[in-house]
């Protein structure tokens, strides 16, 4: 089965074995209720190998709640979540070495040098040939010249790129990226997107991606899933969502979806 990506790249889903075909992430009716308030309402989500899925929604929509459940940081009220077919709550240690995470809101220790931070995480992830791997990633994200600098002294954009280098240390099969380009200038954001697409093409990793930058989502994601006030509002490829909501682009569709919260379209 060929699944066209937004970048024109076709992923061939092989079903030669179950491990290849089974989803990296699967949630079924995933729900979280805080003190009577529903933060996430029956979320069904599937992410396959080699796929980039955009998880979209306005602030407070439930994106962070969903990500925290998948990271094993939050216990759902009901429903199921699995990563590599395992529970993030009870089997986190079997999952952790195979995936990684980067967020604009989570930092590496500001009082350590960049190289010290990367060495620490390379050890935590059991990376073999650490120094070579670190040098390779510093080069990929164009931060090699910052290796000896204190992390807290870096600009927001530099820190983001170092965070991304950390996220690739263990050569993950799955990445959870929470607004990873939020503090990057347009040129660097474009570079990061190209790096992500390139690594996805070469390694076939799956990425769950959140961003408020709709042009970025259109250029990067194979599929998107809109949530609003915890409920799933729409899902499909970016082009399908744009078409369905009779919009010029994804940004316009986003605004329509948020302003008319009762619009619900779930692609069959």
């Amino acid at each position: 089965m060929d699944i066209p990506g937004a970048d024109g790249y076709n992923r061939r889903m092989t079903h030669e074995n179950d491990a290849e075909a089974s989803p990296l992430i699967r949630t079924r009716a995933l729900t979280k209720i805080y003190d009577g308030s529903t933060a996430l309402d029956a979320l069904d989500l599937t992410l396959h190998r080699g796929e980039i899925l955009g998880l979209l929604g306005p602030n407070g929509a439930g994106k962070t709640t969903a990500i925290h459940i998948l990271l094993g940081l939050l216990e759902p009220t009901s429903g199921e979540a699995s990563v590599f077919g395992l529970s993030p709550l009870t089997e986190r240690h079997r999952i952790a070495a195979r995936f990684n995470f980067s967020s604009a809101y989570v930092q590496l220790p500001s009082n350590l040098k960049v190289i010290e931070n990367l060495r620490t995480y390379a050890r935590l992830y059991g990376v073999r040939d650490r120094e070579r791997r670190i040098a390779e990633l510093l080069g990929t994200f164009e931060v090699g010249h910052l290796a000896g600098r204190i992390t807290g002294a870096l600009s927001a954009g530099e820190r983001t790129r170092v965070n991304l280098a950390k996220a690739f240390l263990n050569d993950p099969e799955l990445l959870l990226l929470d607004e990873p380009t939020a503090s990057l200038d347009p040129e660097m954001a474009d570079t990061v997107r190209r790096i992500l697409l390139d690594i996805r093409r070469r390694k076939g990793l799956g990425i769950l991606y959140t961003s408020h930058n709709m042009p970025e989502i259109e250029s990067l994601c194979d599929r998107v899933l809109f949530i609003h006030e915890g409920r799933t509002i729409a899902r499909g490829t970016p082009a399908e969502v744009v078409r369905h909501f009779r919009s010029a682009n994804l940004e316009e569709a986003f605004i329509k979806i948020v302003r008319c919260g009762d619009l619900v379209w779930d692609r069959p």
Binding site: H68, L71, G72, V106
Partner: protein, 273 residues
């Protein structure tokens, strides 16, 4: 646990210990701060003890010597508790905790690294204090305690770790709001531990509470050795037994708070609110 898993565990504990040691590499104020307060306290209590020795003799003079010892031992307990809790909260302050919680690092490995780092810091500080006490007050910590020095100090180290695990549990459940307790909890234990005065000086109704603390047995044992020269075997055994209980309770409490924070959503918000 298989051999390769043991190697990976050791690697992760080493990673976190190094992460804490990196902090001292270039931060002179941070390193000096670790030494500053204990040295100031020792100077204060050392001169008080010196004065007591000058104006008295017999039991009171020996009591003066026990004051210096008590101060060094109290600092050992306080620093080992702080070593665990401050290391833990460091990653909340720097908004790094989510990175650690989603990494392959296990909670017990993380705690082991804080114990190791705390033990290193405590050993350095105790060494410095013992040297100052000998240089300024002619007080020989090793000679005064003989072979009991190591087991008594080890019991305080363990109790400090147990308290550190307990206070870290409070922080993981309540975040920044519980930070003050990191510094406050040891001072709840201090008046009950008969550090600078014997247990007999406390009201009778309070003594059972005091005797439920391993630290009380260590300080009573310490005074017994210094003042009477008698062995402190009973106190040592009681302290070790109680430490096992407190260590297990601290671990259960930490785990309970962790699960509760994961249920309430606090865990994911640590460091970001």
């Amino acid at each position: 646990m298989s051999g390769s898993e043991r190697t990976r565990t050791a690697e992760r504990v080493a990673a976190m210990t190094l992460r804490y040691l990196y902090l001292h590499k270039r931060s002179l104020p941070r390193t000096l701060e670790v030494v500053f307060w204990p040295v100031m306290e020792l100077l204060l209590w050392g001169f008080v003890a010196l004065y007591v020795r000058q104006v008295s003799n017999g039991a009171l003079a020996a009591f003066g010597a026990s004051l210096i010892n008590a101060m060094i031992f109290w600092d050992l307990l306080y620093r080992s508790q702080q070593g665990v809790s401050i290391s833990f909260i460091e990653d909340i302050w720097t908004q790094n905790i989510t990175n650690l919680l989603v990494s392959p690092l296990r909670l017990r490995e993380w705690l082991a690294a804080t114990f190791l780092y705390g033990a290193m810091k405590t050993a350095v500080i105790t060494g410095i204090l013992a040297a100052i006490a000998y240089g300024l007050y002619r007080f020989d910590l090793v000679a005064s305690m003989h072979l009991y020095l190591i087991p008594l100090a080890a019991n305080l180290l363990f109790f400090g770790w147990a308290l550190g695990v307990f206070t870290s549990g409070l922080v993981i459940r309540w975040g920044h709001a519980a930070e003050a307790l990191i510094w406050g909890v040891p001072f709840l234990v201090q008046p009950l531990s008969a550090i600078f005065y014997p247990l007999s000086a406390m009201p009778a109704w309070l003594r059972p509470v005091a005797l439920a603390l391993p630290s009380t047995h260590v300080f009573e044992g310490m005074r017994e050795v210094i003042l009477t020269g008698r062995t402190a075997g009973g106190h040592l055994a009681a302290a070790a037994g109680l430490n096992l209980v407190y260590f297990a309770l601290g671990g259960f409490f930490f785990r309970w708070m962790f699960i509760e924070a994961r249920r309430s959503g606090r865990l994911g918000r640590l460091g970001t609110d």
